[in-house]
Amino acid sequence: MELGPYLVLATLEGAVTAAVLALTAVGLSLVFGVMRVVNIAHGEFFMLGAVLAWWIAQSVVEHPAIGFALALVAAPLIVGALAVAADMTILKRLDYDPERTIVATIGLLYIIQQVTLMGYGPDARPVEAPFNTRLALPWFEHGAEGWQMIWPWGLGTTSYKLAVIGAAVALLCAVWALMARTRIGLVMRATQADREMALAFGIPVERVYAGVFGLGAALAALAGVLIVPIQQAHYLMGADPLLLSFIVVIIGGLGSLPGTVLAAVLIGLSDGIISVFFSPTLAKILATLLVGLVLVFRPQGLFGARGA
């Protein structure tokens, strides 16, 4: 394929990766920022979102769009509720001790994964997209008769992929508005800034923690629901998003939302472009190398305000 169309395609693919990654990583970043909990089970919440989407979509017999719309609402709520329960029964009892919560979330990872394997099985199952039209993109080529518009094969995307990008942007704006413009966001930011002081001012810190853990998990689940018409639901699908989310969160700065979004776009696009031009393995190598460099030269991340 020629360089121009190749680059356009790589960018589009990268943008889809970036969109889903940004949503997942923002959830992880939020949980770390407010609670100082490194949630190793975050990828499993992503997987649960996708698996629940399949379960909801296949139990609704009407038009696939209805099942999907229902999944879009219900799956994040169920996963969020599950995360709130996990917070109240496990993390709270560990006093949110950083080391012990890491071990606890590792345990949570395996429990969620194996229960899914037992209940849902080892197969990858598809969810039908509510709409999915292929959109061919034109390209301009300078031929014998001057500039011509051509429609090369391979250059195209689907309406659903564009919708995923749009939905992610809208959701990220909503998260930002929640954090910056609402009372709930104010309370969260206060808890993040100084837990003791927030407690002294009568903020119910434990309830804030449960809410944040639920919100983080719901965001991951939402990303899972959005990706499942493209990728299929599978019980092991949580590993990649977890790794990439950590990469993004470390590069962007732990706890910083703008940093996380910027890093997600950076990693997603470079993953798309490097994968297309060279190899997906090289894309992962470079992303990991970047994490190493950030940790050595700017440990607080690109946008991190304080040392993490």
């Binding site: 197969d123 990858a124 999915n132 990649d240 994968s275 997906p280 393995t281």
Partner: protein, 428 residues
């Protein structure tokens, strides 16, 4: 020194009495054991991909195996003994595979090991089977058996290998679809067999492979690989495995958008996936290799009809109880046929127990023609005792109206190639 003290003397006597007592006590046990030798079931260790990237195949390999064993047992078992399947999940993981083989031999007391599909698991497990001298019947398609890479205890008598399959496909592809081919294949042993042998075979037909595109079998998103397909490609040859095959084919369709080269795929790209899934409409008029035809063909033999019924597969290759549960129909007959070869081999060798394992190997090596029958519903076959590999007919189907319709069936001769190893020269 030469006078024995009383204490010592009694010690010897006591020891002697003890030994005699043990011998006496164990006599009835021995008698029971030798009796059990003839009535106890024959234990076949079934290495199954229950989890991991081979899970869909594992589910159907299991169903086919259970159906074949039921048939064999209803017919009186093997040498009058019932067959018992001891199934162990290997997670489609080579390391775990070797451990499973070890468990079969040392823990479960299995007579043989059987049933492995994914080539990297076979390659990881077979050396251990050889060391344990456990006959290991694989149902894998990989060329690793016939290439001489494995050992005398590993046999593949129920399914043909990739080298013979692609060799038989190349003339049809070159004559009907085009000569400039780009190959997309999974990046592990099985995919490398496709890469190496199809490239050779198409060159022998005056064609060429323009590009080789290797994709990790655990990949979940594929569009990023497709721009590497050169524009002057006439035929896109695709073969993919793993949980994401549906995504692979769907993205292939979205990528080309109704344009692009002719498509020739190995049905592996769509095993366990309904061909009428949304997004796969573009496959209409494209071609597939099939080991055994998923959709019932008009000339289906009585044996295949009986086989479909026994395994519980409908006329479209899906489960009778759940039409959404599509079988790995092009491959799983290998389990059925392998179990019947094991039965024939054990009966020819007069197999009574693990001491006869070497005789079983020799009996299977002595097999040559395997006629089409209920034991071999896919068709007649030729077994090569030297290379431990079976050869058989291959099918090419075209998607017509959402069904796979057979357009060509190769002869067995089309699939033969010179021997690369003589396992019978290795010690047993």
């Amino acid at each position: 020194m030469n006078t024995l003290k009383p204490g010592q003397k009694t010690g010897i006597t006591r020891r002697g009495a003890l030994a005699g007592g043990i011998a006496a006590a164990s006599l009835p046990l021995w008698a029971r054991y030798s009796h059990a030798q003839t009535a106890a079931p024959i234990k076949i260790g079934f290495q199954v991909h229950r989890t991991g990237i081979g899970a869909a195949y594992g589910r159907w390999y299991d169903r086919t195996t259970q159906a074949a064993v039921k048939l064999i047992n209803e017919g009186g078992g093997i040498n009058g003994r019932m067959v018992e399947i001891v199934a162990e999940d290997d997670g489609t993981d080579p390391k775990r595979g070797a451990e499973v083989v070890e468990k079969f031999a040392n823990q479960h007391g299995c007579d043989i090991g059987f049933g492995t599909l994914f080539s990297h698991v076979v390659i990881g497990s077979a050396p251990r089977a050889g060391e344990l001298k456990l006959p290991y019947f694989v149902v894998s398609e990989g060329h690793h058996v016939a290439s001489g890479m494995l050992n005398r205890y590993t046999l593949q008598p129920g399914i043909t290998d990739v080298k013979s399959q692609v060799q038989a496909m190349a003339p049809y592809v070159a004559a009907n679809l085009g000569k400039k081919v780009t190959m997309v294949f999974p990046d592990f042993a099985f995919g490398h067999d496709h890469r190496d042998f199809f490239t050779q075979a198409i060159e022998a037909q005056g064609g060429e492979v323009l590009a080789h595109i290797a994709i990790p079998p655990s990949e979940t998103s594929f569009t990023k690989y497709f721009p590497k397909i050169p524009r002057d490609t006439e035929v896109l040859y695709h073969v993919m495995v793993g949980p994401a095959v549906l995504t692979f084919v769907k993205e292939l369709g979205e990528f080309f958008g109704g344009q692009g080269p002719a498509l020739f795929g190995f049905i592996d790209s769509l095993e366990a996936v309904a061909i009428d899934s949304p997004g796969l409409e573009f496959l209409e008029n494209s071609y597939f290799w099939e080991g055994m035809c998923r959709d019932q063909q008009p000339d289906q033999s009585e044996y295949e009809t009986a086989y479909r019924t026994a395994v519980g597969v409908n006329e479209h290759g899906a489960s009778v109880s759940d039409p959404r549960d599509v079988a790995t129909y092009a491959h799983m007959f290998g389990c059925w046929e392998t179990l019947h070869v094991i039965k024939a081999g054990m009966e020819a060798a007069g197999y009574t127990g693990p001491q006869d394992r070497a005789a079983l190997i020799e009996a299977v090596e002595a097999m040559t023609t395997l006629p089409e029958s209920l034991a071999h519903p896919q068709g007649d076959k030729i077994f090569n005792g030297k290379t431990h590999q079976v050869f058989g007919h291959q099918n090419i189907s075209r998607v017509e109206g959402g069904k796979l319709v057979r357009v060509h069936r190769t002869s067995i001769e089309d699939t033969l190639y010179p021997d690369e190893v003589d396992y019978t020269a290795q010690p047993l």
